[in-house]
């Protein structure tokens, strides 16, 4: 409260500063977070541009040469191209495999988070807004869901659904929505009691308008933070599932899949097949977490200044 006093000095800031601009400036004050953001842009960028920048298309069997199998990093393949990160047992270029794997991992992580978020938002807002038995029933379901380990739920679902990227996304959405529902409900309950919501009620605005224009925008910030970090969780979870052999199909390997397939060669010295995808996975998750943590710090009014 006191911290705002200095900032409201008249004339000092004539330009209308949007909450977004303020957020961005505040975010940029942390070097680690900016590093995280840079890494994240790099990771997402290379995943998106994989078809353009990857030396070969790892899904195109015609391009693979089994004679190039198990080449160590920096070795030169039969076609004369350097395999910077080596090749796997099929002669697949690891760098290309990682770039494409990143695509799959991010696709699964982001889309399951978006779907989970949408579902959680709907359910959580309903629970907070209607209250009463609706709230009780919804929150009981959420509690039950959250009391099972996510990996277990996902394993069971995938065992029932079978393999496929869409199946993995369904399974991950199912394990995630409950987190969002709970977070949304908590924030919405707090926001709903604030005086600006009462003011909107007093101005006889419609319920829909109050929820859309007043309640929802103020519930979003903490949710976006949770979602960012949750993308990292989803990616890690997908990697685990793939590693256990119930995730994405072999034809479209994700990072987890690559790690799993290289695992058997770890002891015989061909470390690169597992380790490089592992590093890519680690960097992705760390970058997302760095950005998410900073967002949480900036958006949390209790920590600001």
């Amino acid at each position: 409260m006191t911290a705002t006093v200095g900032a409201t000095g008249q004339g000092a800031r004539a330009r209308a500063e949007t909450p977004m601009a303020r957020f961005a400036a505040e975010f940029a004050r942390s070097r680690t977070a900016m590093l995280g953001l840079l890494l994240m842009v790099l990771v997402v960028g290379s995943a998106l541009l994989a078809p353009l920048i990857a030396p070969q298309d790892p899904y195109d069997l015609a391009q693979l040469d089994i004679l190039d199998g198990m080449l160590a990093p920096l070795a030169e393949g039969g076609s004369g191209a350097t395999h910077w990160l080596g090749t796997d047992d099929q002669g697949r270029d690891m760098l290309s495999g990682i770039l494409y794997g990143l695509r799959t991992s991010l696709l699964v992580g982001v889309s399951s988070t978006v779907f989970g978020l949408a579902l959680g938002l709907l359910v959580g807002l309903s629970a907070a807004y209607f209250g009463g038995w609706v709230d009780t029933v919804i929150m009981r379901i959420v509690d039950i869901q959250l009391s099972f380990p996510a990996i277990l739920v996902a394993l069971i679902l995938l065992a029932l659904l079978g393999k496929g990227i869409d199946k993995v996304i369904i399974a991950l959405t199912t394990v995630q929505w409950a987190y969002y529902a709970r977070t949304v409900r908590g924030t919405a309950l707090v926001e709903r009691r604030k005086e600006y919501i009462e003011a909107a009620t007093c101005l006889a605005l419609s319920h829909g308008r109050i929820v859309r224009r007043h309640l929802l925008p103020n519930c979003l910030p903490p949710l976006i933070v949770v979602a960012t970090v949750q993308v990292a969780h989803a990616i890690a979870l997908e990697a685990t599932l793939s590693f256990l052999g119930v995730g994405v199909p072999v034809t479209q390997p994700s990072l987890g899949m690559l790690i799993a397939s290289g695992y058997q060669y770890m002891l015989s010295g061909e470390y690169w097949i597992s380790v490089f995808p592992g590093i890519a996975l680690l960097v992705t998750i760390v970058a997302i977490n760095l950005v998410g943590d900073r967002m949480r710090d900036v958006l949390n009014p209790r920590l600001s200044r």
Binding site: T2, V5, G6, A7, Q10, A12
Partner: protein
């Protein structure tokens, strides 16, 4: 219940002041530049004395209180001398400060939950507080806690000791926080707007306890508030703060009845008073200046009705005892207290 009689109570004072602050300066590094929240504050409090620190929001009252206790968060820097019982707290180490904070100086905040932990019973918290600074048995610590609760007017202290903070009303919670502050009979209490959220009957109860304590044990009190009415009823002396500086100090009678600084005058005039019911209140024109962009010379200049050319220079302190930081002070009315003049 309404006794307007003056009280005796200053006979305890003797010799050197308990706390003497010289040139206190507190700066915060922010994105927009260095904010000097406290800028050369001098204060003096004697044993058993109640000093009221008033001023508008953002003038630096809370930061002053926190600086005295070494509680300013890292980006902030504190300078100057804080002589407490002969020791310079500005130079003291963190361990020493922590000891002094528990045993010799206590702080009461506006929100009692700053002091109380919601998940621990009052008993646990009070006993821990006793044991932190006194070598006594648990039994003895418990007895002291119970007595402290009784002293701040909490009925059936024995049962209340076992309760949790949320089982108390706001006023009672504040009294518990005060009881904790009183545990070690500190030499100085710094109270930052402790009654602002309470209604007048509860406030009166707390003021009663505080007054009694100062009278009986010689505890000195720094009472931070923006409520002039409370301060003029409670305090011995007043210091008025504006933009990080003390602009006027003196006894309550001097400052309230014959204010010399135009800002003090403005504050007093804007309090609703009985004989001007229904008429527009006097207001101080303009806004509180940003600490990042203070006017040159006297910080009050843009809002001051008495400002002249020479106010572009920095005014020093004038007067003795009753002192003010102004080149062109309000005239002292020929007779009667100033509050009656506008009747």
């Amino acid at each position: 219940m309404n006794q307007d009689q003056p009280m005796k109570g200053q006979q305890i004072e003797a010799g050197a002041p308990l706390l003497r602050v010289e040139g206190l300066r507190t700066e915060f590094e922010t994105r927009a530049g260095a904010v000097r929240a406290v800028d050369g504050v001098d204060l003096e409090i004697r044993r058993g004395e109640i000093l009221g620190l008033v001023g508008e929001s953002g003038s630096g009252k809370s930061v002053t209180g926190l600086s005295l206790l070494g509680l300013v968060d890292p980006p902030g820097r504190v300078g100057g001398r804080i002589l407490f019982e002969g020791e310079d707290l500005a130079r003291a180490g963190e361990r020493r400060l922590r000891h002094i904070r528990g045993a010799r100086i206590a702080m009461i905040f506006q929100d009692p939950m700053m002091t109380l932990n919601p998940v621990l019973s009052v008993e646990t918290q009070m006993v821990e507080a006793v044991l932190a600074h006194a070598r006594v048995t648990r039994e003895e610590a418990r007895r002291r806690s119970r007595d402290a609760l009784a002293r701040v007017g909490i009925p059936s202290p024995e049962e209340r000791l076992r309760a949790y903070p949320h089982q108390f009303s706001g006023g009672m919670r504040q009294r518990v926080a005060i009881a904790i502050a009183l545990l070690h009979a500190p030499a100085l209490i710094i109270a930052d707007e402790p009654t602002t959220a309470l209604d007048v009957t509860i406030q009166a109860q707390i003021l009663f306890e505080v007054q009694k304590l100062c009278r009986e044990t010689g505890t000195a009190l720094l009472w931070i508030t923006h409520d002039l009415a409370v301060v003029s009823t409670l305090a011995d002396r007043i210091a008025v703060m504006y933009a990080g500086r003390i602009v006027e100090t003196g006894s309550v009678a001097e400052v309230i009845d014959t204010p010399r600084h135009p800002y003090t005058r403005g504050l007093i005039n804007s309090v609703p008073s009985r004989n001007r019911r229904g008429q527009p209140l006097a207001q101080i024109p303009g806004m509180t200046p940003s600490l990042l962009d203070l006017p040159r010379g006297c910080a009050f200049r843009p809002r001051c009705p008495r400002a002249q050319e020479d106010c572009q220079e920095e005014p020093g302190l004038f007067g003795a005892g009753h002192r003010w930081r102004c080149f062109h002070p309000e005239p002292v009315p020929a007779m009667g207290p100033a509050t009656e003049v506008r009747a």
